[in-house]
Amino acid sequence: MALLNAWAHSLHFLPYFLRVLCVSAITTVVLTACAFWMAFVLGFVLALMRLSRHAAFRAIASVYLELFRNVPLLTQLFLLYFGLERIGLTLPAFVAATLGFGLNGAAMLSEVFRSSIVGIDRGQGEAALALGMTWPMALATVVLPQSMRIALPALANFGIGLLKDTSLASAVAVPELMFRAKMLVSETYQTNLIYLIVAAIYLLLSLVLSRVSAATEHGLGKRRAALS
C-alpha cells in the first residue's frame, strides 16, 4: 500500500519530468550530431593521412590515434574543460564536450574509414587512374562510394555509442539529458521514475538511429537489386 502511494505521488511529477527531460534530450541530440560530424570529417582526414605516401603524415596520424584511443574519454573531457581553464582558455561546456567527443571519435572513425578504404580492391583505383583520373578524383568517384557502403554499419554503431556516451558530458555541466536528470533527482528524490524516463529516451533515440541506418543500408542494396 505504501509502495502504491509512493508511485501515485511520483506520477504527480511526471509531466514536469517529461517536459524538462525532453528539452534536455534536444541538447543530447545536438551534441551527438555536432560531435559526430566533427569525428566524421576529422576521422576521414586522419584516415587519408594514415594512407598517405608521406611518412610524416602517417606518423602524425598514428600518434593522434594512440593518444586519443588510449586515454579515457572522461579524462579528455576534464582536460578540455577544467585543464584549459587553468591556463586561461575557458571553453563553454558544450564546446568542450563537442571537442572532446569529436576528437576522440575521430580516432575511432579514422580506423573505420581506413579499413573500409583498404578493403576496396586495388584494381578499382587503378582502373580509375587508367581512365585519366587523378588520385583524389579516383578516390572520390570510385573508391569512397564503395568504401562508405562498407563503413556504414560501423558508422551507425559509432553514432549509437556516441549518443549514449554523451551522458559523460554531465560531468562537465553540459545541460544534457543525464545532467538534467541528476538535478531533478536532487530536487525531488524521484530517482526511479526519473532514470526510467531517461533510459526510455536513450532507448528511443538509439532505436531511431539504428532504424535510420538499417533503412539507408537497405536502400543502397535495393537500388541495385531492383535492376536484376
Binding site: 580492391d121 584494381g123 582502373a127 536484376s228
Partner: protein
C-alpha cells in the same frame, strides 16, 4: 605538352607511338624487367607472350605508369610518361599531367575492374564525364554506340555483378574506348574467363584491331596473337628474347628459349 622530350623522328618519317627505352623495374632485390627496348608504331598490334613471371604485365603497366620504372623511360608519341626532363636529369611530372597522358591510353585488366557501384552505362560514362568534363545527350549516344559495338547495349542498366565475366570484360573494353584513346593496353584480358567466354572478348578485340587501333596485348592466346598481331614479342626472365612477325616467331623462332616455350604451350 612540350616538345622537349621529343626524339628525332626516325628515317622512315613515321614516329613511334610507344617507345620503351632501356626499361628496368625492380621490387626490392627482385629484378623483374632487365633492360627492355620496344617500339610500337601507330596502328600496330603488338602481342607480348612468354612464361608467367617473365615481366609482360609489369612492362605493360610501366607503359601507362601504373608501375614506376626503376630505370629507363617510356615515351608516348615522343613524350616521356610520368617524367619531365629537367636539365640533365629527370623529375616526376605532376599528377594532373600524368593523368592527362593516361587519358589517351586505354587499359583493359585481367580482372575487368568494372566499378561495381555503377551501372554498365555509367561505367562507360564515368571517364568522359569526370576526366573530359563532357555532358549531354551526345555523350550518352556515343556511350551506347560503344556498348552496342561490344554487344552490351541491352545490358546498359545492369550492374557488373549481374554479368558474366565475358560480358564484364566487353563492358570494360567499351569503358576504355569511351576516352577515345590512341593506344589500348590489354593485360591478359581473357585469362580469368571461363573457356567458353574467351571467344566473345577476343572477337571484340579483333574487331578493334581491324579498325586500326594501336594495341599492345599481353596474352596466352597464341592463335589469337598469331592472327591479329603485326609483331610478337617473346619475353623471358625480364628480357625480350626475340621479336618479329608472328609467322616467324611461331614457325621459325631463332632462340631455343622461344621454341621451348611455344612447344610447351602449343602441344598441350
Amino acid at each position: 605538352m612540350g616538345h622537349r622530350d621529343m626524339p628525332a623522328a626516325p628515317a622512315t618519317g613515321l614516329r613511334q607511338l610507344v617507345r620503351v627505352d632501356a626499361l628496368h623495374k625492380s621490387y626490392g632485390a627482385h629484378h623483374v624487367l632487365k633492360g627492355i627496348d620496344l617500339e610500337v608504331m601507330p596502328g600496330q598490334k603488338v602481342s607480348l607472350i612468354g612464361p608467367s613471371g617473365s615481366g609482360k604485365t609489369t612492362l605493360l603497366r610501366c607503359i601507362n605508369y601504373l608501375e614506376t620504372p626503376s630505370a629507363g623511360h617510356v615515351f608516348i608519341d615522343g613524350h616521356a610518361i610520368g617524367e619531365r626532363r629537367h636539365g640533365d636529369g629527370w623529375t616526376s611530372m605532376s599528377s594532373s599531367e600524368l593523368a592527362a597522358m593516361r587519358a589517351n591510353i586505354g587499359m583493359v585488366f585481367q580482372r575487368f575492374n568494372l566499378f561495381p557501384h555503377l551501372s554498365v552505362l555509367d561505367n562507360v560514362l564515368l571517364g568522359p564525364r569526370k576526366v573530359q568534363k563532357r555532358t549531354g545527350r551526345e555523350l550518352i549516344d556515343e556511350a551506347r554506340a560503344l556498348l552496342d559495338k561490344v554487344g552490351m547495349d541491352a545490358k546498359r542498366d545492369a550492374f557488373p555483378e549481374q554479368l558474366s565475366g565475358g560480358q564484364q570484360q566487353r563492358v570494360a573494353i567499351a569503358r576504355a574506348l569511351a576516352m577515345k584513346p590512341r593506344l589500348m593496353l590489354f593485360d591478359e584480358a581473357t585469362s580469368s574467363l571461363d573457356p567458353e567466354l574467351v571467344g566473345e572478348v577476343l572477337g571484340v578485340m579483333r574487331k578493334l584491331a581491324e579498325e586500326g587501333m594501336t594495341m599492345i596485348i599481353v596474352t596466352h592466346e597464341m592463335r589469337f596473337a598469331e592472327s591479329v598481331s603485326d609483331k610478337v614479342v617473346f619475353m623471358a626472365d625480364g628480357k625480350i628474347v626475340e621479336e618479329g612477325e608472328p609467322r616467324r616467331i611461331f614457325h621459325d623462332a631463332q632462340a631455343e628459349r622461344t621454341r621451348a616455350f611455344l612447344r610447351a604451350v602449343l602441344d598441350h
